[in-house]
Symmetry: C2
Amino acid sequence: MNGGVLTIYGDSKSGNCWKCQWVAEQMRVPFEWVETDSIGGQTRTEKFLALNPAGQVPTALLPDGRMLAQSNAIMLHLAEGSRLVPSDPYERAKMYEWLFWEQYNHEPSIAVRRAQLQFRGKSEADLDPALLTKGNACLARMELQLQQTPYLVGDALSLADIALVAYTRVAHEGGYDLSAYPAVNAWVARVEGDLGVKSEAA
Amino acid sequence: MNGGVLTIYGDSKSGNCWKCQWVAEQMRVPFEWVETDSIGGQTRTEKFLALNPAGQVPTALLPDGRMLAQSNAIMLHLAEGSRLVPSDPYERAKMYEWLFWEQYNHEPSIAVRRAQLQFRGKSEADLDPALLTKGNACLARMELQLQQTPYLVGDALSLADIALVAYTRVAHEGGYDLSAYPAVNAWVARVEGDLGVKSEAA
C-alpha cells in the first residue's frame, strides 16, 4: 500500500512520463512522483522489475496499491469519463487511433532520436538516417490534420493531443526542424497553453 | 460511401489485420474485406494514401463512410460495450496496458522478425540479434502473467488476448520457440478455440 495516493514512478526527462503528470494535474488527482532514472538503469533493478516486469517508466501505483503501466493506459484510466476523452464514439475511436499511432510510429522515431542525441551520447553520424525520414513523415502526417482542425480530434483538447505534444514539443532536441510544420508549431503552443506547461522551444 | 457495410482493407498475412476480422466476427458485424498487399506496395499508392495518410493496414471504412485506422483502435471501436472490454475500470485499464505494450514491444520484435524471414527474403544471419532477445523477453513477460491467470486480464477473454494472440500464434514463423513458454502455448490454443480460429502451430 502507498497511503491511498497515486504514485507515479517517472523520469522527468521522459515525454511518456510528462503525459501522466499532465493528466493527473488536469484531473486534479493528487499524486506523488518518484524520480526514476531509466537511462541510468533504475528501471532494471530487481525491486523495480518486481513492481513492473516490463521495466519501463511511467509506472503508476494506484491509490489502492495496484500497478498500472504504459503511459497511454495510465492517461486513459485517469481521464476516464472526463472532457479529455471525447464522448462521441467516432471521435473517441479517432483518439485511440492517434494514441496507438503515437506509440508505434511517432515515439520510436522522434523520441528515440532525442534520447540518442541528448542522453545516450550519440552524434548525428551514429544514427540510422531512416529514423529522421520516419520522424519527418510523422510530423507531416500531423501537419495534414492540424491544417484542418485546431486539435488532433476536432475542436477540443483530448488525450490524443497530450500524448502527441509530449515528444513533439522537444522534437528539436532530436534534430527535427518544426518551423517546416507551421500548423504543428501553432498546435504545440496551443496545447502547452491549455496544459499550463512552459515552452521548451529552442 | 460504401453501401452501409463495414469495409476492412487488410492483408491476409498480417496479424494486425486478423485482429479486426476476428473482432468483427465475434461482434457479428457484417464486413467486406478488401485484400491489400502491404509488402507489395498497395498501401503506398496515391489512392490508398488518400484513404489513410499513414499508409498502413488495417484501415477500416465504417458503414457511414468515415475512416478509422490502427488495429487496436478499430477493435476498441467495434467491441465497445461488449464482453470483450472488461466493465471493471481497473481491468479495462490493464487491457489498455496490454494493447499499448503489444504495439510498442511485442509487434516490433515478434511480428517484425516473422515479416523479415517469411515475406522479405531475409535469413537469420541478416537480422539484428537483439530482435530475438527482445521478442523472447516479451514471451517471458506473457508467460509470467499466464502462469497466474487463464487470460491476460483475469478470467475472461478480452481484446488484450485477441491483440496478443495474433502474432504470438505465428511466432514460430519468426524463429521463436513457443515450447519454452508452456502457459503461453496453452493460452494460444485456448484463445484460438474461443475465436474459432484454426491453429497455425508448426
